[in-house]
Symmetry: C2
Subunit: 465 residues, 2 copies
Amino acid sequence: MTAAALTELRDCLGAGAVLTAPEDRIAYETGARYDRGRALAVLRPASTAEVAAAVRIAVRRGLHLIPQGANTGLVAGSTPDDSGAQVILSLERLKSCFEPDFDNRSLHLGAGHRLSDVNARLAPEGLFFPIDLGADPSVGGMIATNTGGARFLRYGDVRANLLGVTVVLADEAGTILTLGGPLHKNNTGVDWKQLFTGTSGAFGIIAEAVLKLHPLPGDQAAAILVPASGAAVLPLLRRMEAALGPALTAFEGMSGPAMQAALDHVPSLRDPFGGAVPDYAILAEVSTPRPGAETLLGEVLERLLEEEPDLLADARFGAHERTWALRHALSEGVKAKGRLIAFDLSFRRGDIMRFCEEMKAELPAHFPGITICDFGHIGDGGVHFNLVADPASPLATDPEQELRLRDMVFDRVVTRFGGSFSAEHAIGRKNRRWYEIYTPDAERRLSRALSAATSPAGLGAVSFA
Amino acid sequence: MTAAALTELRDCLGAGAVLTAPEDRIAYETGARYDRGRALAVLRPASTAEVAAAVRIAVRRGLHLIPQGANTGLVAGSTPDDSGAQVILSLERLKSCFEPDFDNRSLHLGAGHRLSDVNARLAPEGLFFPIDLGADPSVGGMIATNTGGARFLRYGDVRANLLGVTVVLADEAGTILTLGGPLHKNNTGVDWKQLFTGTSGAFGIIAEAVLKLHPLPGDQAAAILVPASGAAVLPLLRRMEAALGPALTAFEGMSGPAMQAALDHVPSLRDPFGGAVPDYAILAEVSTPRPGAETLLGEVLERLLEEEPDLLADARFGAHERTWALRHALSEGVKAKGRLIAFDLSFRRGDIMRFCEEMKAELPAHFPGITICDFGHIGDGGVHFNLVADPASPLATDPEQELRLRDMVFDRVVTRFGGSFSAEHAIGRKNRRWYEIYTPDAERRLSRALSAATSPAGLGAVSFA
């Protein structure tokens, strides 16, 4: 029966669009972090209509589809389980549509386009899609995770910059729904695209999108700030927001251990601190339409250094790219330091530093051999609370220990601080355990109703029901 | 049976919170434009718990509730029909909660607070909720209509500034759901608050909200621009967006007839054109964190006047408030001019002027005695396409004529231009006819499923099923 299904899929999509050999499947089966599954096959449709055709066959044959973009997600939301029965539906070939409307600052495009390609093609018109990430995801994947990134403070998440989607439902008809479109403003009913955003493809396969574009800044400048204390970080952010308004495009926190790990393990980095890495530093970025970003940021920092010595201990300008290089190297540095146990958390902005302080005081006693290398997006309350376990620590090898650690951290985050256990990575197999623990029954009941009404055949790596 | 229900409601909410006398009901039964219904009673609960208690009684007694905020909506979405059987549930007393978190730039509050009060209370902290409207709606009403306003270009709509809601469902239990909260970033499942935003209270009663706040600009300046032609409006907007980025906080179009109506009928207005009102003008506003808004706008306009005479014919600065006074008077002026037939439309930005040109060429032939007095939010594609009928025209008195006109305009908007028949007023009894015409069956099927899963007893002035 499986063989018959594959034959039917090959007849429909073309033999080259149905991969079954293990060496062809492996890149699609392997996630960017942690996960590795096994798929029956990988489908590579080239159009929305082909996605719908593949879905019809899969639904009729009882095959469970896992939509996959560029497979850069970090929570096993786009890879199959290890049953060998699930089928990956890769959206990487959905690239034929690329229709910008510059007057409208919008872009209709296939879900397979990569973020870097989109922005390279828009740059000559002075426009861009303002999501800023270390990875290079596809448009569909960004929507399925509602990703945020380093300039959320100024531009918001994908949801805030999404005008429309075309989704294919996992029903017998392979229904194609176009929800929203190029209009910036439209209130003629339920905004259904919202329910397909950030939900890991569980309710429908995102095949096309209409994105909202922004004018590219003409100038940018960044500085590394050393706050006088952890308690100074939020007052500093508020002063800078008041002084700079939307010109403040990033306010990224970096803990001493995270910076040290980057400096130790990324040889190309230059140390802006001359060896004396502080406990905490902030990368602040200013963007302006015309030249003058550095002057503007310089004026504000000078005033702060003068008037608020209790808040700001030091501020250093560097070349813009070199300044960001430190921030971007944190992830690599932390990974190289030891066994990484990463958390993608968010809080009310005023709670981030408090949470980190509490954890620094408590965690090492429970879990010896751990270093807290947190960094993140102070401006939007997000923190990559990354822990590195010494190779000798039980955490480095014992999955039960890691689970105990995660349960303890998430309980603190959600129960005590009202924070989020997934700020910008969404839900996949790797964190669904905590979705079960923390999601009220009433919301899961709504998810079941939505699921039954959209994709009754089931879809994706996780269910929200 | 009705008497028993009212007694039960009085016992639950207190006698003063259940209004039945016609003179007490009338303000709640009468909409801000067009509509006038008749209610069995008006309920005025003072807390979320009282809303839930009232809902439980209403559901058990089979009473249909119409949630109502400040009743400033324009499409009959918050008033009862004329059956005399529906019960208004006014949220105006939901004001006890007002909990700002300044570090987090968020505000948890009851749905009954008015926009003007919210911003007056936030101003001393240098923060505000950035929706800018002529009316003074309640927080709950703004969410139910997902209103936009004059600074959408910079800050987006209510949805873009909404972090959480607490809703009461019309089910037997009067279920209270808290969806979202103070977190700026959270992707742990379906973002259910979206379903209750812009849907006129049909899925649940909005009792509380958490709003995202923004730093108050320190300085603002506005100018009236006269574009060289209709075709110059969009290129002008794009030049100004590139030059000003997020400092451009409004770009509002005003047609000659709309301005003339305001100047004719609003005596306090000063004519910035010295009697020679142009065919079209634009109010452009610049906001900056610190003093310098007028200098910045002046520099940009000077360069445009010099370098782009084909785009910009003239630009006049005036005192900031006096400049806005003209824009704000358009609505009153148009209303005073004759019988108003208003349309709240939106388009891809490049289509607004084209649509208006087409209508100017065609409408008068079909509907003699009509003047097109359009104005609106060019920056976000919205246009208040307001028509004024001469008292002698059949349109002024014949509802059939008006319906024919509306059908014709909406068909052009939606079918030919892919525009919206309700840009920022949402759906009420007055425009549900076009929801029926233009909403695909698949979306209505989803609405039925979600309606059954949220508020099976039915709720609100309109259903989306």
